[in-house]
Symmetry: C2
Subunit: 354 residues, 2 copies
DNA sequence: TTTAAATGTGTCATCGATGACACATGATGA
DNA sequence: TCATCATGTGTCATCGATGACACATTTAAA
């Protein structure tokens, strides 16, 4: 049995649809008699408003689109999306997810679908191509960029990657580590859209360099390992982290600590370390980034946690503000937070090295 | 600038909306002149059909709802949802996700939202309360249950958990293991809805028992560790797996192999093993279930892979069949598959035990 | 007592796409 | 020559909720 309509409820209650609407919206004048008749009819029919009809009439679908990548490979994006959805739910909104896996054509397809569905706004995590942002804006759909911005044309909410990385390095330096390696993605490859944007990888690498300098440590370029790891085709299994770690362990003078720009990379690194029979943090300390897999690894990983909940919630709230025509901050930067767990410890004595 | 309407396109082309519709649908008679005029107008206005209006008119939203749990804690559900979405996309559908985290009230809320949004069908992964399935069915919305069924009232697509578990045990027995432990969730707690349904945990435990019997091994109840692990409040960090493993390692006669009913539990177990300084698979073999975290752990985990892609794709295809009034199989059981990685090896010699 | 404000209820156009239907015109066959 | 069919195009009701508006009636204020 199809859900009943306002009209059916009205007929059953012996009133007009307007009266039923007044009861539902709890605004306007309704006599007690009419109200109770309507309420009875509402209950009897199990009326549920038709969001599709409302959407057409109000020119507002109460739906927002959410673009993301690597949905099966990196829990980060799903987490952000989850909190955005949670915030949306409280306001009567639903989100549509669209996974583009870093492919601009897919992203474009997603943008087109969002336009057809008449979403009220779109959240981009990890925006790829600024033209797709533009496409939505031309259709009068507000866009909020999360975590990784493709263009300054739309507001963004980001994370202070540099300070996050810096704190990680400071922590390791404090533990006495002097040879700290960096494992990250290719900063050029991951720089997206308008070229004047710094990528998150660049920011983390900058934090690493500044951290070393502040600790009075030299930068050894041999300890900086970059390479694309957003190759989802590989299964997102952190294979890049594994390879980089293998290379680092083959160095004549090994690092005693590793900073990886992503928990997945760190997980791969841990596999290499495990294979070599080294212990963490006894022989080697390691810090990840994101706080996605960190708590599931052995040992539990010290990591730079991204504020995924804030990113999601603020993302939605900002989108809502934009929908309602309020002015929104153009670029918000949230802090990252170093979470200490069990993968970092004092640097080993040079002579105790295996 | 709002996307333009059919009417606007028609006016610009100097024809009626019906003609534009004929061009768009590529059916009916349209003269070449009219067609090219319409096509020009279509391009000039950048027309995009309004899915909301179409939904109202066709009484079909081209949207399906997807209920799931533990979206931030267990990648399994997101994976299934991803493949369902992928299949949906190809047919012009979009999915709405709703995360209930095992809470029946949340699940009900989700069902109500789905009804209001007039989704054409609903996929349930891990259905909690059969009344919520009923709610949707009363609103004439077809329901397909995936992986874990709450009721026989709606068709389900499941996985052969018993055979999956059995193969895991057979593999371990073949490697010479004679003391194989089981770490799982509470089978009673996880049995859901209509009580005559066996839970996935029961099925996996049954597979374990049968596997042992077939290998001629005795069942030692001390090696069977059950307890709720779907406590998302704990952060889903596999803390239960960790505790169970600790207890198993404290046993006077330790197991040499572990079968965990979920990769997250296995990850927790690995943490306990790591803490004790034992090596996998040298000292201890371990097999997980799901193939979610498995490839990210150290060492990479041998696991019973669930057919997440098939579950998702078939789920959508079955839903689509149901929407179109075709008959659908009432209960489909898909095979699980043992994936060999690096966490299983020959049983250690009894005298080489540390 | 008269007027203004508060209270209560119904009608109807609107949002945009769709598809049934009507109505053309020209070609073909009987 | 008329009937039939293919071709080509336009009109309009419909899906369901909404909110502006009109129109009552009652109450309060002047």
């Amino acid at each position: 049995m199809k859900p009943s309509t306002l009209m059916e409820v009205a007929q059953r209650a012996g009133v007009s649809t307007a009266t039923v609407a007044r009861v539902l919206k709890a605004k306007g004048y309704v006599s007690d008699v009419a109200r109770s008749r309507v309420e009875a009819a509402l209950k009897a029919t199990g009326y549920r408003p038709n969001a599709v009809a409302r959407g057409l009439r109000q020119q507002r679908s109460f739906t927002i689109g959410h673009m993301l990548t690597a949905i099966t490979a990196n829990p980060f994006f799903v987490n952000v999306a989850h909190w955005a959805e949670e915030a949306a739910l409280a306001e009567g909104y639903k989100t549509f997810l669209f996974n583009h896996d870093g492919n601009p054509e897919r992203e474009r397809l997603g943008a087109e679908r969002f336009i057809e569905r008449r979403v009220d706004a779109v959240l981009f995590t990890n925006a790829v191509d600024s033209r797709n942002v533009q496409l939505l804006r031309e259709a009068s759909i507000p866009v909020i960029q999360l975590e990784r911005a493709a263009t300054i044309e739309a507001p963004s909410i980001r994370v202070d990657n540099q300070t996050g990385a810096l704190e990680a390095i400071a922590h390791l330096a404090e533990l006495g580590h002097r040879r700290i390696a960096f494992i990250g993605g290719d900063p050029n490859l991951i720089r997206r859209g308008d070229s004047h944007f710094t990528s998150v990888e660049e920011e983390r690498l900058a934090g690493y360099r500044i951290g070393l300098r502040q600790a009075g440590l030299p930068v050894d370029e041999a300890l900086i390992r970059l390479g694309l790891y957003y190759s989802i085709a590989d299964g997102g299994s952190g294979i890049e982290g594994y390879k980089h770690m293998k290379a680092l362990l083959a160095l004549p003078e090994r690092p005693t600590a590793i900073f990886a720009t992503c928990d997945i990379l760190a997980a791969g690194a841990l596999q290499a370390i495990y294979e070599e029979g080294l212990r963490v943090p006894h022989d080697l300390s390691i810090i990840g980034f994101d706080d996605t897999l960190a708590a599931n690894l052995a040992p539990q990983l010290t990591t730079v946690a991204q504020p995924m909940e804030d990113l999601g919630r603020l993302g939605f709230r900002t989108a809502l503000a934009a929908i309602e025509g309020e002015s929104v901050p153009n670029d918000l930067v949230l802090p990252a937070r170093l979470v200490l767990r069990r993968s970092t410890g004092p640097a080993p004595h040079p002579n105790s090295r295996r």
